[in-house]
């Protein structure tokens, strides 16, 4: 283990399993904090906890694999991320293609009303597809 790492960082960076638990745990605390803030009408505190968790988790996830002498992530993690990303896109794509056109038709027939929350989900799914398309184009052409 490197002599330059703080002992607390060394503990986290010494084992892939511990590293993942700590990083995912920090993200989880941030997200739970955000929702708890919304739930208990303490939006500022919740957002602060979320931002601290997001920044700390992202920072640790980016830095620790580079400074740790132990192998914290490897090709299997990359393959898992690719698999999960593909599954996410297929799932959202399937739901979008299978449900959204039917919702439009049902709303046009005055059978259902698309609520603002549903519109938000539709826009979010569409935006995710746009981002995915941009990333796909970039990877296809430049990597």
């Amino acid at each position: 283990m490197s002599d330059t790492l703080h002992p607390a960082v060394e503990t986290v960076a010494g084992s892939p399993r511990r590293y993942k638990r700590v990083v995912y745990g920090i993200f989880t605390v941030g997200i739970v904090g955000l929702f708890a803030g919304m739930l208990f009408d303490m939006a500022l505190a919740g957002t602060t906890i979320y931002l601290l968790g997001a920044w700390l988790g992202t920072g640790l996830a980016a830095v620790l694999p580079r400074v740790s002498p132990a192998t914290l992530t490897d090709e299997r993690d990359t393959a898992t991320h690719r698999h999960a990303s593909g599954l996410t896109i297929r799932l959202i794509g399937g739901l979008g293609l299978g449900i959204v056109p039917a919702l439009y038709a049902l709303e046009a027939a005055d059978i259902v009303t698309i609520t603002p929350t549903m519109w938000g989900a539709i826009w979010m799914g569409s935006a995710l597809f746009l981002v995915w398309g941009g990333c796909y184009t970039y990877v296809t052409r430049f990597q």
Partner: protein, 67 residues
């Protein structure tokens, strides 16, 4: 992918962590390969074959499910 990696590793007196360190992956990845839950990349398969001084096809062979 079927493999005799556990037998070869144990014959060398190596732990999964030791082999992982030798080829630059995590112990969990070696464990997943040995349990047929992960197919290694060509680069990792070459590294493992190189470590055990054998050919890739001696170390790995397709499972019935892979064919």
């Amino acid at each position: 992918m079927q493999t005799d990696l556990p037998e070869r590793r144990e014959a060398e007196g190596l732990s999964q962590g030791g082999l992982a360190d030798a080829v630059g992956v995590t112990r969990q990845t070696i464990n997943a390969i040995e349990r047929d839950r992960y197919d290694p990349s060509l680069a990792l398969a070459f590294a493992l074959a190189d470590y055990f001084d054998c050919r890739i096809e001696e170390l790995f062979e397709p499972s019935v499910d892979d064919e």
